[in-house]
């Protein structure tokens, strides 16, 4: 069985452009990629937030109330719901004075089984190292 790993790495702020949003929607589209592949082929996505990208993970976005658009928060929760590994760089979280309490760590209310993981940058680097391709958003 041929499975390829693609690392989606987000280091841009939310809402300035749609960069981080497209990272999320493309990662989630791995759920339907089989229709384009052979029977024994698949893709495993891994999603990592680094640098200013970790600010996408601050919880309680009001983008929908204020501007009528889906928030990055809801995209991240959808990623968890579809069992995509979500990694957040702990050095950057610390640098910005944030803690797990202020971040989107789970999507329990949607019924997601997995949670976001705060990990050292080296862990994210290792994911890039073992990925077949890196999409750097």
């Amino acid at each position: 069985m041929a499975i390829k790993k693609i690392a989606f790495v987000v280091d841009k702020l939310p809402y300035k452009t749609e960069t981080s949003r497209l990272a999320l929607t493309h990662a989630i589209s791995s759920q339907t990629v089989e229709i384009h592949l052979e029977e024994d082929e698949n893709i495993t996505p891994v999603l990592a937030f680094v640098g200013e990208g970790v600010l996408n993970c601050i919880k309680d976005h009001k983008a929908s109330d204020v501007y009528g658009i889906t928030s990055l928060e809801s995209h991240i929760k959808n990623a968890l719901l579809t069992d995509i590994k979500v990694l957040i760089c702990e050095e950057d979280v610390k640098r910005f004075g944030l803690t797990a309490d202020s971040l989107i760590m789970d999507a329990e209310e949607l019924g997601a089984d997995i949670t976001s993981e705060l990990v050292p940058f080296d862990t994210i680097m290792e994911e890039m190292n073992t990925a077949d391709h890196i999409l750097y958003f």
Binding site: L13, I58, D60, K62, A63, V66, Y67, F96, G97
Partner: protein, 98 residues
């Protein structure tokens, strides 16, 4: 001149801002500029808040990004779109957007 400067990006170093001279200078944080109002990178608030000018931040853009009004530095005045209009017409004569 009374100059209002919209800062729309999160960048703690702002060369342009630090060079501007005006009789009255105000900074208005919008879009990703609002991170300057709330984040303490490496434990320190944004240098933009220490220029001795009045600093405003747009409440709608704070909320969009999950930044509560409570988390905003005490030096910053939070305004909404209505408040922006008044700043533009009543407090400043010229406006630039960085």
């Amino acid at each position: 001149m009374k100059l209002g400067v919209f800062v729309s990006q999160y960048s703690r170093e702002n060369d342009t801002l630090s060079r501007l001279k005006a009789e009255k200078l105000g900074v208005i944080l919008v879009q990703n500029g609002v991170y300057n109002a709330a984040l303490k990178e490496d434990g320190k608030s944004s240098p933009i808040l220490d220029k001795g000018t009045t600093v405003y931040a747009l409440s709608e853009d704070l909320q969009t990004r999950g930044l509560s009004v409570d988390s905003v530095d005490s030096k910053v005045k939070v305004v909404d779109y209505d408040g922006l209009v008044d700043l533009i017409f009543n407090e400043y004569e010229k406006i630039i957007w960085l």
